[in-house]
Structure formats: C-alpha cells, structure tokens
Amino acid sequence: MKEEKEKQPINENRKQSGEVTRRGFLVGAGTVVVGGAIGAGLLSSCKGGEMVTTTVTSTKTVPTTITTTVGGPGATITETKTVGAGDTITVTKTETKTGGGLEPWQEPEISSVRSFGLSGFGKGGEAAVVDVKNGKIVRCRSLRFDGIKKDGSDATSTEEERAAAIWKIDARGKTFTALTKSNPNYFTFGYKKCTYSPNRIKYPLKRVDWEPGGDPAKINSQNRGISKFKRISWDEATSIVADEIKRVQSAYGAYAVYAQGDGHGQGKCLQGTHGANMRCLNTVGGYTMQVRNADSWEGWYWGAKHVWGCESWGTQKPQTNIFNDIAHNCDMIVMWGGDPDTTETGFKGQVTGRYLYYLTELGIKQVYVCPDLNYSAAVHADKWIPVYPNTDAALHLAIAYMWITEETYDKDYLDSHSYGFDKFKDYVLGIEDGVPKTPEWASPKCGVPEWTIKAFARDWASKTVTITHGCGGGGLMRTPYGHEPARLEVYLLGMQGLGKPGVNQTVFWIGPEVKWRVRVSYLLDGLLCTQMTPQFIPKPVFAEAVLDGHMETWGSTHLDAPLADQFVKYTYPIPAEEGGTEIHMMWATNPCLTGCWNNSFKTIEAFRSDKIECIVIQHPWLENDCLFADILLPTTSIIEDEDLYFNSGAHIGTVALSRRVIEPVGESKMDREAAMEIAKKLGTYEQFTEGKTQEEWFQFLWGKSEFSKHYTFEELEKKSYVMAPLREDWEEMPAGLSKFYNDPKANPLTNPKGILEYYSDRLAENFPDDMERAPVAKWVIGGSEADGWFHDESRWGERFKQYPLVLVSNHPRWRHHVQCDEIPWLREIPTCKIKGYDGYMYEPVWIHPSDAASRGIENGDIVKVFNERGIVLGGAYVTERIRPGATFQDHGARLDLITDGIDRGGSNNLISPRNGVSANCKGQATSGFLVEVAKVTPDEMEGWRKQYPDAFSRDYDPACGLTYNSWVEGGLD
C-alpha cells in the first residue's frame, strides 16, 4: 500500500490538500480568515514550526471577501478572493505539521512580485516573481499575468487589465502578440545565487592596515587591493565614516569628498543603489560628483548629436511606434554592431529576440554588420558581413560612394532636410582629398570584399531599411574615434530619407506607447546623479584627475547633458574661492570603475594614491572596486528589499510593490538605510529623511506616478502589481522621425539648424584644428602621439606591429556589465566561462581558427590578452564566430589580480585605451583596441604562481569564483 502511494503522487496531493486545493488556495494553507471586514474571525494559527489549520463553516450574506493567509516561519502572505452572493464558504478541518505530514513539495510558499532590471536609476526591467518558503528563496520566475496555475487562482490582474496592456502587431497577415507572462532576462532565473552568493559582504568590514585620520603612514594606500579586511560593527563603521567625512571636509572643504553613485546596478527605486550617499552628503555641505558619461553611447553622444540633435544620448529620438513601423514598412533591417538578444535583457527582458523571429516570418531581411557573430546574428541573420573591428567608417563611406555615383539616394529629401551635404559628397568622391572612397578603397580597410560592399549598397538602396542596434550599438561606437562611424550612420540614413515610413534608427527600447507614464523620472536619490554639482569629475578621467591633481574637459560628459555642453570647458578642481579642492575621500555606491570604464589599471593607481585618505564603498558583493576600499558597508540584493518598481522598459509595463519576504543576508542593509545610519552619526538624520518614514516615501513616490490616479495605494498593495494599459491610439502614433520627414520646418531636430547637419558649423568654429572630429565625419585612424594623434589603435599604426589583433569587447552576454558573474548555472554555459587546465574558470577569448593556429593556441587553452597597458587572462574559444584579425572578450569579468598589470579574471577594460574617444571628447573607448593574444604556457603560469603565492591562494570556487573568505580575515566567522 505504501509503495502504491508513492507511485501516485497526484492522488496523494488531492487527498491531502482537500477542499483548500480545490478552492485554489495555496496548498497547506496555514491561516484562513473569513469575513467582509478586516480582522474578522481568525480560524487558525501558526505555532512555532507546527502549522495548524482549524475549520469553521461560515455562511455569509455577500459579496464578501475571503482572505487567505499562508504563513510559514518567517513569512506571511495574504490572498484575497471575492465570492458571489449566497456562496457558502466551507473550510474543511485538516491538521498538519510542517515537516511531518507535508512532503516538501506541499509546503506553503509565498510569492512576491518584483523586478530584476539591472540598470539602476530606479528603472525596473521585466516584472518577475520570487517564491519563498520558510524564509528562503525557492525560485525566481516569470510573472504569469493570468496566474501560474491552471485555474488562474493566483492572478491578481483582471482579464480587462490584461486585454488593455497586452499589445499586438498585425502586419502582412501575421500577428505578433506580447506574452501573457513577463519575459525576464536570464539573470532572473539564477538571481537567488547572487543573493546567497558566497561572495556576499555579510558584515561591515575595515581594511586591516588602514587607520582613519589621514596619516599617510597609517592609511597604507599602497596596499589597497592587496591587504585583507576584518569584520567590524555597524556602529564602529558608521562612526568611522562620519568622523572621516567631518575631518576631511573641515580640513579641505566640503567638496573634498567624492561621491560616486553612477553606472549600472540593480534596478531598485527608493532603495536605489545610486545617490543615497549624495543625499547624505548634501546634509553636510555637498560633495564632488562623479559624472556618469555616455558610457554605452559614446559615438552617438560625441558624434551623431552634432548631425541630428536627438538629445541627450544621441541615438534617434523619438522612438515612438518603431516596432510597428518596421513590421509594416521595412524590407530589411541592418543591425550594425548591435546584439539586442544580449544587450536588451537587463532592461526589458527577452521581447526583442522573439520580435526578430517575427520579422523573419514577415519576410523582412536581417543584415548584421559586426566582426563577431554575436548572439542575435547567430540565429536571426540572413546575411552576416564580418567587418574588421572599428573600420565601419570605411564601409559607410563606400556605401555613400555607391549611392552618390549611382544616384540612388534621395536628393530632394536632402535639399529640404539637410545642411552641408555637398561637403560630405566632396569628401566621399575625393574632390576634397583626392581619394575617392570607392569599394576598392574600402575593402582592404574594412575587410569586406569589394563585390559584397557593392551588393550591400545596392540592396540597401533598393529597399526600405531601418538601422537597428542593441543598447549602445555594441562594438560600433564604443571605440577610438567612435563618433565617426556614428555620424556616418546618420548620414546614410539621411541619404535614404530618414523618418519616412520604415527608415529610422532604433535601439529596440521602446515598445508601444502606454497610457500612463510608468517611470517616475529618476527616483528620489537616483535623481541626484543627474543634478550637476559645482565641482565634478567625469568618470572617464577619474584616474587622471586624482593622479595629476587637475583635469580639463570639453563638456561635463554627463549622459544627460545637452549638445551645447560639449563646447563648454570645465576644470577640476574649481577655483578655491568657489570651494574647489582636490578630493581626499571617496564614498561609492555600487562602483565598477575597474570593470566598466577605461584604462582601469590606471584607475587602480589612482585608488592607491595617498591623496585619497579614505575609501568607503557600500555594495552587496566583495568584488572589483570593493577590493580597494578601506571601509565596506554590506548592502542588500534586490530580493531582500522592500521597494516600489516602475518597470518602464519592459515589454509590458508594470508597477509593483514588493514587501520584505526574506531577511537580509548577514548584517546587510538597504543602500538607503546604510546612508541613513551615517546620517545619524553626522547628526543629520532628520534632514536626510525629511521627516518621512519609508512608508511615507513609498506613498510619496506612488503619488508621483500617473498610476496613482487610477489605483489607490491599497489596491496596489492588494494586487501587488498593476499593468500599464496601452494608449488607444498607439498604432496611429507617428513612427520615429516621421513628423520631421513630413515637415522639417514645423518639426525641427534639436541641433542648431534643426535639420541634418552633414557639416557642423559649430564644430568648425569651436574646434578648427581638430583633425579627429572634423566638421564632416571622415575615415580617421589616428597615429602616433608625436604626430598629434590621441589614439594609435588601428591596423595601420606602429603599435599594430606588436599588437596585431583588434579586441572587440561587447556588453556581456552572461553578465550585465559586472553584475551576475557568480551565478554557477550561467558559468556552465559554454560561452560564459572556459575551464582552464588548472580548474579555474576563465573568461572566454574568441579567436578564429586561423589566428589560433598561427599562435599555437587550441580551444580551451589558457591565453593572455595583452598590450603595453597590461595583461588579462582568458580561456581560448577557437571559433568561426569571429573573423580573422579580430579577437573578442566580453567586458566586466570579476577582477582577480595576480599582481599589478596582470588580471586572471579577464577584465579587459584594464587594458583599454586612455581616456577619451578623441582629444576633445573625454568619454571612453573600451572596444576596438589593439592587443596580442598568446598561450599562457604552464611554465609561465608556474612562474606567476611561485612569485605571487597570495594571489593563487585566494578562496576560489570554480562554481562561483572568488568568495568572501578570500578577502576577509577569519572569513565567515
């Protein structure tokens, strides 16, 4: 009989859960409350680990509300149901004990809707659900708007709400329907491993050989990233931080404290990873802000904006209705450097991948121009044109040459919509410099056969084409002189009538327009990251500013700064009479300078400067920049928080309210709480909180949302999320730049002339001698510093002789920038990590079989990627997914320094070029630079192992990488 039962778990289930299950309540319900009014009739109770459900029969005159509360140790959730008039509610008596009668699968779980957007700034991503049991995370899953259960009993949205939010595109007889489930990124499904990572910072930590007070002999700044940490209490940590702030500000001035709160991070809102430090410092006189530059948008920002405005990032705006426009009007899309199946995921989940299959179904061709067969190209491309890295400008120019000489461009459009096209034409035809930019000229430069260039130009001219990118355009324009290909791309779009149906540029960010704005500006503390301070340091020049003690830039470099800002010169420090001072203390939230920004071996030098007397970092994981801190404050991961989520980038917009479902790991606190603890010690707690409780801030933020006009906070609480309904007229809304196309005078662009500027008068006036960013975009390869060039990173310079491969470093597939490097299940994916002969999981280095053979490299070998700036290691992935002459490694792998200049983790930003896209554009160029790749021989590795035994004795688990224990004295105890 026993055996029979075990073979039939279905029957066992029915028998045990009885009435409760049939009513669709959670299995093993603990507490059942019946009644129309709050608090009526408690029918059961939880005692310790023992769960008791008592039964009462109650008949009600209704409609009434049944509230089912399921409780387990450490967790409670309430489900609410309304039943019709006259219903008899019967709850059958059952008596169960957890761990006794219930099998594990039957134990009660609670569910919490939140979001795993990884882009910070209060910007959620796709909604997702966390299921929790006994205070521990069971799973992270997609949110089924209509309920995960067959009977829909767990759905809190109504059919009407779903119908209003779930969009459809009908084009050419085929329909694309958004899913009735959220479509989260792959990180979501492993995120509990981030929350429970062995690398979590569990307690406040202090570096063992650092003492407060600023005495160079006692801060041992040279040991940052070398010496370990020891556990201290929150009380001690916050006292130290507050005292250091007071000391540094009184010795040097308020602006001597540097607040870093930018870059990417978990998509929290009130509990945001960005800006809590700034809020705190604002209560004591201010700070020097680290400005977030246009890190993923450099070429657009420094180049394309001069052609078409499109404030503030420089990719096309508006993006309205582009999904619909492409489906109806395009014959072809050209994905130039983009990989939306990869780079969109952290913002909006996976909808683009499915949409690209729909385009194929519609017969819309997809051409991918990129050195690497990226993840989107690998499955969606009808044609892959593998261009040499950072030579796209040659291909652009040859296409323009074909169109001009074959007269297959829209002259009438250019007459009415552009300025200075003749100057560009003169350059293309060689009238200006005697060099016609023919396919024959371009072919050896860009590595694409002449016949393919011609075919591409003609095919494009004969079709209606939108140029598409993933976020930031991948390797196209995060490069030395990236403003040139970016400008040229806009030139080409203009030549084909930019803005007419089916001719736009998109980064696939914006789905159909919704009725109520989901996003509430930048949220609260995050807002501070957008507000300039009197003194600031642009992120790409941080190292220079610290080490040289001063810096100058054209433009603040701020991602949100308008075009005109690029003609303003800024200096650091500002004059002393205005409060200017060098920085002497840093307080960073969620920093990743080493893994996401440029030339970061230099950044490490800056971290080790004794000018910086104290580095405070708050972060959930002991990784990357954290290793250089003096004080570390442990903060929570997104699953531990309670917060509001405004999921605006999602394929279906949602606003969610998430209550606490698990206890914070160790002694970690939410970012805002951590900053508040310091405010308490500074005596400015009241100013920090503005007298509002967290609950009042939730209400405040909710009040800022357009959704609050349609739902009460109590309704949100009850439903846990609400869906963004579409505008009724979204399909009729003007697509992209169609208004500009139809009437450029009435709908001007935001650049000075309001039309496409092929020639920029303003660049000519302000930078008359700039040969790298001339008034007209050109083929720029740079050269030696002696000749006045900013970069020598091309295949035609001196350095190429030593470093004959060009590294492509995209936004990573299996991380979001530096986030999520520790998820063991991702690390098992063949292109995520490669196991070296020593058992270490190396970051893959893609290399073509021909380039591998000539270097004696075999698949799986440990290799080094290097130039004069340093060495990063990797695992050879010998593949046809990369063209010869190029090599590829994602950026952002977790730092694991063997010694200065050698990183085992494979964080190639360490060896990227010095600051600047070009001389007058102090952004970052972190892809498309010269390296050589060589096999690391066992002798070389043994040599390092002997020379740097500490680096090889860190606590390392191949499943997740370095752990907390490797950097903390006494480890977990």
Partner: protein, 266 residues
C-alpha cells in the same frame, strides 16, 4: 498525456530552460518527485549548442534535450527494484526514496538524460516538474521560462498540430518519445557567386545541387546561395549564369556544414 515540443528554428539560445530547471531543482527538495539536484554538473534539461559553417557563412542552432519520457522507456525495465515508474500522465519519475544508485538507468539511457548524484547515491533526471503540475501549475519551469515559445509543454491532444509536423531526436534509438522536435539542424551548403574581373556578385545564378538529394536555388542580391536541411552525404553543385561558363564543384561532403566561399565564375 503530457508532451513537450521544441522548435529549434525559434530558439535564440538564452538558456533559460536550462537555468530555470536548475533554479527549480538545485537546492530544493521535491520529494517524492525528486531530491535536490547538485549545484553544478547535472543538466536535467540540457540546451546543446552548435556553431555551423565557416566565416562568413555561420549560423548557430540550439537543441533542448531533457529526459524524453519514452513510452517504451528502457530505464523502467532495467530498474531491478521498480524505483522508476510512468505516471498516468506519461511523465517518468525516478523515486528518490527507493532508488539505490545502481546507475543501470544511466547506462541504458541513449539520450544521456539521467545523472548520478554521488552525494545522495541516487539517479536523477527531469520530472517534467510534476511536483508543480500536481500543485496546479500550467507548465514546468523550462517551458514557462521560454521567452520565444520555442519550448512548449502541455497535453498531447492540445499540441497535436505541432506534434504532427515534428520529428524524433535520434530516431535510430528506436524509442517512442514524448519530446517532439521541429526544425532540428541538418546540414547546409552555402557560398557566394561573383565575377572576379568586374568585382561584382552574380545575382540570379542558378545553382543546382545533385547527389544524395537534389535542389535548385538562385543566388540572392548578395550572390549568395544556401541549400539548407541537407542530410549527411556527398553532393555536386552546378552554377549557371548567363554570360558565364557553367561551373561545377564535385565531391562536396556534408559531415559538417559547408561554406564553399566566394566562387568566381570568371
């Protein structure tokens, strides 16, 4: 009866099926359906990836391989203690309470879908997330996580249309499976036809494949031709375009996908 359908032509390799499976089973005890999966090394729902062709004619294909829940499952027969059983809905379960870890089921599974958990000394594999299905869920984790709907799970009767045009993975194993495949990667022969004198591609050239199977395509606006869905075999290709002598390429073997490169007709 439950069934899976996997359509390789709309799988973009996000691995969410494999990841969600691990999220569900690693560290979670679903006795009597399954005990916890080890943190790494098991792939109860495994996504395999294939890089096909050479630069610049390269494509990727992904194939999801869980336990096939065979109707004539050899693992059930080989289990001497009767720890493996088929449920009424067809899903096959290894009872973690009674499995003795003899590993005969692992050896006999042609699909290599059964794994040994050395810590627990038991065999483990895909349960079709029957612990969730029995709890009222619509789907197992893998298909629930699939963003492109490449992986579907449900009642065989509801999936009948898809199953009718699907095939079996490795039919040579002779097993009647409940996982059905659409668009399994076969082999391709591709190339670009051009004129090396004018440095132009040749558009509209007729390419005729003969040998183990026959097909005809014309080159597209890039001079490209693609013969897809070929079996492993030996083929000959004839390329004809007006104004050019015909060109023949023989003995093309498709053990691997073939990129013939840029072929000049002059």
């Amino acid at each position: 009866m439950k069934a899976f359908v996997f359509d390789s032509t709309i799988c973009h390799g996000c691995y969410q099926c494999q990841l969600a499976c691990k999220d569900e089973h690693c560290g979670n005890d679903w006795t009597p359906y399954a005990k916890p999966q080890p943190e790494t090394g098991h792939f109860w729902g495994k996504l395999n990836e294939y890089v096909r062709g050479t630069v610049p004619k390269v494509k990727m294909s992904y194939v999801f391989v869980p336990c096939q829940h065979c109707k004539n499952a050899p693992c059930i027969d080989v289990c001497s203690i009767g720890a493996i059983y088929a449920r009424e809905d067809g899903l096959i379960i290894i009872n973690p309470k009674t499995c003795t870890g003899c590993q005969k089921c692992i050896d006999i599974c042609s699909y290599k879908a059964v794994y040994y958990n050395s810590n627990l000394d038991i065999a483990q594999k895909c349960t079709g997330c029957s612990h969730l299905i029995d709890r009222g869920w619509k789907e197992p984790r893998c298909s629930d996580a699939c963003p492109t709907l490449a992986l579907k799970h449900g009642e065989e009767s509801d999936l009948r249309d898809l199953i009718n045009r699907a095939e079996t993975l490795y039919p040579e194993y002779g097993l009647t499976t409940r996982v059905h495949y659409i668009g399994l990667p076969k082999k391709f022969i591709a190339g670009t036809v051009y004129d090396s004198v004018t440095k132009e591609v040749v558009i509209g050239a007729t390419c005729t494949l003969s040998g183990d199977s026959t097909a005809t395509v014309v080159t597209d606006s890039y001079g490209d031709f693609w013969f897809n869905d070929l079996e492993v075999g030996t083929f000959s290709l004839k390329i004809e375009a007006s104004g050019y002598p015909a060109k023949e390429i023989n003995s093309i073997k498709t053990e691997k996908d073939v990129n013939l490169g840029d072929i000049s007709l002059t």
